[in-house]
């Protein structure tokens, strides 16, 4: 059998596949006009301004803009109603555990009795400890709502924004959930840096750029 010239073969393969690669690149890269000479940004020259990486979260762009209007400067003392909420647990009876303990696993297994009719039959749990209604944190989870945010939701969102703004270096104030002048200034600074409309408010576009979804 004739020995194959692999070097020649390889050249052929490259020749066949070259046009294909060209097509592929024209589809997947928006054709840099010069063809193969796509200028990669040089790695050595640092950009004049270092941009922190921010992941924009698709923040229900078509959803309602719930937090844009939030302007609470108020202190938290006005949220007295929530204290009853937060004490929900302790107020019940002092005991945290469900008041009904699990039903005893009735005749507990000991020696298997000889007669099959007498063996222990697992019974469906007769009293399941009440499942604590955990499903709904005060933010109502991810359910988009057109309603005005509750006081708690507003504090939560402001706090989240403050944390992100602090991380990005726009905010130096306390993380207190208050829409203070400092927070607004930080929002404006961030919006300016991101090329957004400088509203100083937590609008959808800004929250999305901050990586906060709701």
């Amino acid at each position: 059998m004739k020995k194959r010239n692999w070097a020649e073969y390889l050249k052929k393969v490259i020749r066949w596949s070259a046009p294909l690669t060209a097509t592929v690149s024209s589809i997947w890269t928006p054709a840099p006009a010069g063809g193969s000479s796509a200028a990669l940004p040089s790695i050595s020259t640092p950009p004049e301004k270092v941009q922190p990486i921010t992941f924009a979260v698709p923040n229900r762009i078509d959803g309602p803009d719930r937090f844009a209007g939030h302007s609470s400067h108020s202190s938290h003392s006005s949220h007295a109603s929530h204290s009853s909420h937060s004490s929900h647990y302790s107020s019940s009876s002092g005991s945290y555990y469900p008041s009904t303990p699990p039903a005893p696993p009735s005749p507990s297994y000991s020696a298997p009795s000889p007669s099959p009719s007498e063996t222990y039959r697992p019974q469906p749990p007769s009293s399941i400890p009440p499942r604590t209604p955990e499903k709904a944190p005060p933010t109502e989870g991810a359910v988009p709502s057109t309603e005005r945010p509750t006081q708690i939701e507003a504090i939560v969102m402001t706090t989240r924004a403050q944390l992100e703004l602090e991380r990005l270096g726009h905010y130096r104030g306390p993380i207190d959930g208050k829409m203070s002048a400092e927070t607004r200034a930080a929002l404006r600074a961030f919006q300016h840096a991101q090329g957004l409309t400088e509203t100083g408010a937590m609008d959808k576009a800004t929250l999305a750029k901050l990586g906060i979804s709701y």
Binding site: H85, P105, S106, S108, Y109, P138, L163, P174, D176
Partner: protein
């Protein structure tokens, strides 16, 4: 080794003993109920207004600085942890407000998380690492039901241990169901002696576990006399085998566990053949080094054998099964005590909260692949073969 317990100072009474510890950004994301969260407030981070945390409804804060006497915060504070690295973000802890005892019930990112369901057991194995107590500890199950919603929902592996979990009776299937509903990706690894599954009704009741649960069942010999002696229960061998068949009949998957000590290794190779002939359907066979704790300490005289002396037989038994299509693993035996031919079956296994290395292991090139030692391994349990592999 990172222990699961430490102590702390608690500034006020807590509304709930079980708390999910989270950094503030994650805490605010709303994935866990606010009233079950203790927010970590690091001293080197931004200034966080605790009053705002209280207004949101968080349960407590965890400080990494001591709280000066007389300083009061709007929320109960957990501070001055004796070993601060025990508690980190994502963990679920139980805090005893009176004594300040902190136990980690769920550790984010650990190689093993276990639900300890009961201390009761119907066997009394010679080498039991968790000696059973016949006490009413049903509170453990309520605590577990309370814990489950605080576990990261993407968790994929969870062990269930005891005690004997089948003593939960009808609560065992309920536990399986709740794990499945709160942790959609979960695979449960339930340690049981399988004896109670002899009863078809109990075996039927765990139908929800098919495809989710691996039943890890110990079998210590190919003959009843030896197995019954090791587990100190007459008739256990037969009941366990019936239990295994009963589960397999219903589509469950089984792991057989064989603990290596002087009472079991003499029949190890015959045991391997027994498993191949009678239980070829099992999904995994685990040969496990002894953890020298609990009853094992008391029974050292009848249990101790230097792993170096059983290693050749172990290598043969393990490969016998593996070659016949049954996945086989060797756990808890350091690599320096095994012949190199057994290394492919050796797993790096010991839970990270009880895993240590000996001084000799310093500089050993195989350390990254080696299981190391149980923290409980004292001088009485040291093999003469411990050595470092060096280049």
């Amino acid at each position: 080794m990172l222990p699961l317990h430490t102590s702390a100072t608690v500034s006020d009474s807590l509304s709930s003993p079980l708390l999910k510890v989270l950094d503030l950004p994650e805490a605010l994301a709303g994935w866990f109920p606010f009233k079950r969260i203790a927010v970590r407030v690091p001293a080197d981070g931004p200034i966080i207004d605790i009053e705002a945390l209280r207004a949101v409804g968080f349960s407590a804060v965890v400080l990494d600085r001591p709280l000066p006497q007389g300083e009061r915060l709007p929320l109960p504070a957990l501070h001055s942890l004796r070993n601060p690295s025990v508690v980190s973000s994502g963990d679920v802890i139980r805090v005893h407000a009176g004594t300040g005892q902190v136990a980690v019930l769920y550790r984010r990112g650990a190689n093993a998380n276990n639900l300890f369901v009961t201390e009761q057991c119907n066997s009394k194995c010679l080498m039991c690492s968790q000696p059973p107590r016949n006490i009413d500890d049903r509170w453990r199950l309520s605590e577990i039901f309370d814990l489950l919603p605080l576990i990261d929902p993407d968790l994929e592996q969870l062990g269930v241990t005891g005690g004997e979990p089948t003593l939960l009776g009808a609560w065992l299937p309920e536990l399986i169901r709740r794990c499945k509903s709160v942790l959609p990706k979960i695979r449960l690894h339930i340690l049981t002696n399988g004896r109670n599954f002899e009863d078809p009704v109990l075996a039927d009741s765990v139908a929800d576990g098919v495809g989710v649960v691996v039943w890890a069942i110990p079998l210590y010999a190919d003959v009843p006399s030896r197995h019954d002696f090791v587990v100190q229960a007459r008739g256990a061998f037969e009941a366990t085998l019936k239990g295994i068949y009963s589960l397999v009949e219903r589509g469950h998957s089984i792991e057989i566990r064989f603990v290596l000590h002087a009472q079991t290794v003499p029949r190890m190779e015959r045991f391997a053949e027994f498993v191949y002939r009678n239980l070829p359907f099992v999904s995994h066979v685990a040969f496990m080094g002894l953890e020298p704790i609990g009853y094992a300490k008391v029974n050292r005289a009848s249990l101790w054998i230097d792993p170096l002396d059983y290693a050749p037989a172990l290598e043969r038994a393990a490969w016998y099964l593996h070659d016949r299509g049954i996945t086989t693993s060797i756990y808890n035996v350091p690599l320096c005590l095994l012949p190199r031919s057994a290394w492919p079956l050796a797993r790096q296994s010991i839970s990270d909260w009880k895993n240590v290395y000996e001084p000799e292991c310093e500089g050993c090139t195989e350390r990254p692949r080696c299981c190391g030692f149980f923290a409980s391994t004292g001088p009485a349990w040291r093999s003469r073969g411990i050595k470092a592999f060096v280049l």
